[in-house]
Amino acid sequence: MNALEIRQLKKTYSNGVTALKGIDLDVAEGDFFALLGPNGAGKSTLIGIVSSLVNASSGEAKVFGISVQKQRSQAMAEIGLVPQEVNFNQFEKPFDIVVNQAGYYGVPRRLARERAEYYLRQIGLWDKAFRMSRTLSGGMKRRLLIARAMVHQPRLLILDEPTAGVDIEIRRSMWKFISEINAAGTTVILTTHYLEEAENLCRNIAIIDRGEIVEHTSVRELLGQLDIETFVLDLRRPIEQAPVIDGIELILRDPSCLEASLPKSRSLNRLFRALEEKDIEVVSMRNKANRLEELFVRLVTFEQEQQA
C-alpha cells in the first residue's frame, strides 16, 4: 500500500495564483522520500493539502488509502507534520505542548506524558521540558516540532524544511533521529533546501516546479543521469596555467587549485597519471558541488527554459 497517493491535485488560491496544476504522486509505505523544488514551486501547498491546512481546488490525496478530503479525521490520525515555521504557543512549556498534541490525537493523558518524556529525551530536550518555550534556541524549537509531530506515533511523518537555520551538529543529530524513525517503519517525506540531505537520506525523490512534477524517480536513478562530475584538486606546488588533458576539462581557479570536469565513463586514474606526467602533485580532492544540486538546477532550469 502507498503511504501517500495524489491524483490530479489542483490548487488555485482566491487571488488567482495556481499553485498546483493537477499533479500525480505516489510515496510507498516505509519510504524516505524527498520533495524538492525552488521557492514558490508548490511544495508547501502540497503539504498543506495533505495535512488539511489547505483546501484542494480539485483532485484527491489519500494517506494509506484514506481520502484526506472525504475522511479527514481518519487520514489525519496517520500523519505527523513538522511545519516550516515554528507554530507552537511560545508561552507554554515543551512538555505541555507535546502532551496536549497527543491529547488532540486521542492519546490518554498518562500515556501522553510517558511518550512526551520519551520523545523529548530522544530529541535532547528533556532538560528544557519545563521551561517556557520562548526561551528555547532556534534549533531547540525545531527539535520540539519533531517531538510534537511524533507523539501520536504517526505512520507518515512529513517534514517541511525541518533543518532550516539549524547548525550542522544539531542537523546531524536530527537526521540520525529521523533515520531511526524511518528504519522503524515510519514513512518520511522531506522537503529541504540542503540537497545533500536529500541525497544522503532519501531513497526516492520528486522535483516540483511551478506546480508540476518535473521528475519522480529514485535518487540512485536520478544521480545516474549525471554524466559529468567536477572535482576540485588542491595542489602541493602552484602552477601558472591549467594543463591540457584529452577528454578532461581543466580550469585553474587559482595557482594552487585546479578544477577538473570529466565524464563518468572516464577513469580518475587517467587524470592522475596525466597530472603526474606533468609533475603536478595533488594533495587533496573533493566534489565541487553536491551531485543532486547539479541535477536539480539542471532540471529546474530546463523546465523554465521550456516554458519560456
Binding site: 488560491y13 498543506g48 495535512s51 488539511s52 491546512l53 489547505v54 483546501n55 479527514r72 479525521s73 481518519q74 489525519m76 490520525a77 496517520e78 500523519i79 507534520l81 511545519p83 515555521e85 507554530n87 507552537f88 504557543n89 511560545q90 505541555d96 496536549n100 498534541q101 491529547g103 488532540y104 490525537y105 486521542g106 492519546v107 490518554p108 493523558r109 510534537r148 501520536h152 506515533q153 504517526p154 505512520r155
Partner: protein, 261 residues
C-alpha cells in the same frame, strides 16, 4: 501504532482543549480573574452604596440588591466573549491553531472545547463577583434552576458570538471593536442598573429588541424573583440566539473560514 479515531479519542481531545484553556485562564489570573472583581467592587461601592442609598428601591427591591444580578451578568457576558476571542484569535495569530487543524478532531469538538473554556472562566468570574456582592448586600436566591440555566446559556451564547468574531478577526483591533461598541452599550442598556419600566414609551419598546435585556431579567428573576419580561420569552430568545450562533460557528469552522487556505 496510530490511535484510531473514535468517540473515546474525541472525548480525550475535548478534555485536552478544556484543560489547556483552564490552565491558561489560571496561569494569567492577574489578567483574567482580578480585573473584573476590582471593577465590580467599584460598581457596588459607587452605584450600590453611594448612589444606591439615594435611589432607595427599584421594583420594590433595595437598589443594591437590584443591581447584583445585572452586574454578575455583565461579568459573565464580557468574560465569556473576551476569553474566547483572545484565546482563539491568539491561537490563530500565533498559528498554534494549526495544532488542532491538522489533528483528527472534528470542528464540533474544537468548538465545544473553546466554548467550555470560555464558560468556565465566565462562571468562575461570576461566582467571584457574587462573593463580592455578598459582602455588600448578602446572598439572595429565588429559583436555583432558573439562575443556573440562564447564566450557563448566556455564557454559551456569548462564547459562540466571541468565537465568530475571532474567526473573522485579522488583527487585534478586530476583537475589541464589538465588545467596545456593541456589547458594552447593549449590556448597560439591558437593564443592569434600571428597570425598563422606568423608560419612556418608545425607548421602552426599543429596549425590548435588546436580547441582553432578557438575559439580565431572567437571571434577576432567578435571584430575586422579579423580571420586566416573561421568563419563557427570555428562554426562547436565549436558546434561539444560541442555536443561530451555534449553526454559524460550526459552518465557519467546517469550511475553515479564516483558518484554512
Amino acid at each position: 501504532m496510530t490511535v484510531k479515531v473514535s468517540a473515546a479519542s474525541y472525548w480525550i481531545g475535548y478534555k485536552t482543549i478544556l484543560i489547556k484553556e483552564v490552565t491558561r485562564i489560571v496561569r494569567i489570573w492577574a489578567q483574567t480573574l482580578i480585573p473584573p472583581i476590582i471593577t465590580m467592587s467599584l460598581y457596588f461601592i459607587i452605584f450600590g452604596t453611594i448612589i444606591g442609598r439615594r435611589v432607595g428601591e427599584m421594583d420594590g427591591i433595595p437598589y443594591m440588591d437590584f443591581i447584583v444580578p445585572g452586574l454578575i451578568m455583565l461579568s459573565v457576558i464580557t468574560n465569556a466573549y473576551g476569553n474566547i476571542t483572545s484565546s482563539f484569535f491568539g491561537a490563530k495569530f500565533g498559528r498554534h491553531i494549526e495544532e488542532l487543524l491538522i489533528s483528527p478532531l472534528p470542528p464540533w469538538i474544537i468548538l465545544a472545547g473553546y466554548v467550555s473554556g470560555a464558560v468556565f472562566r465566565s462562571l468562575l468570574v461570576g461566582a467571584l463577583v457574587l462573593l463580592v456582592a455578598g459582602a455588600f448586600s448578602g446572598f439572595h436566591l429565588h429559583n436555583l434552576p432558573v439562575t443556573l440555566s440562564v447564566v450557563v446559556l448566556t455564557a454559551v451564547v456569548f462564547a459562540l458570538a466571541g468565537l465568530i468574531n475571532a474567526i473573522y478577526a485579522r488583527k487585534f483591533d478586530d476583537i475589541s471593536i464589538i465588545p467596545t461598541f456593541v456589547l458594552q452599550p447593549m449590556t448597560y442598556l439591558g437593564g443592569v442598573f434600571f428597570s425598563v419600566s422606568l423608560l419612556p414609551g418608545i425607548t421602552q419598546t426599543l429596549s425590548l429588541a435588546n436580547p441582553i435585556l432578557y438575559m439580565v431579567n431572567a437571571f434577576r428573576y432567578g435571584m430575586l424573583g422579579i423580571s420586566d419580561v416573561s421568563l419563557w420569552v427570555a428562554y426562547a430568545i436565549i436558546i434561539g440566539f444560541g442555536a443561530v450562533l451555534l449553526t454559524i460557528s460550526l459552518l465557519l469552522l467546517s469550511r475553515g473560514v479564516g483558518l484554512r487556505s
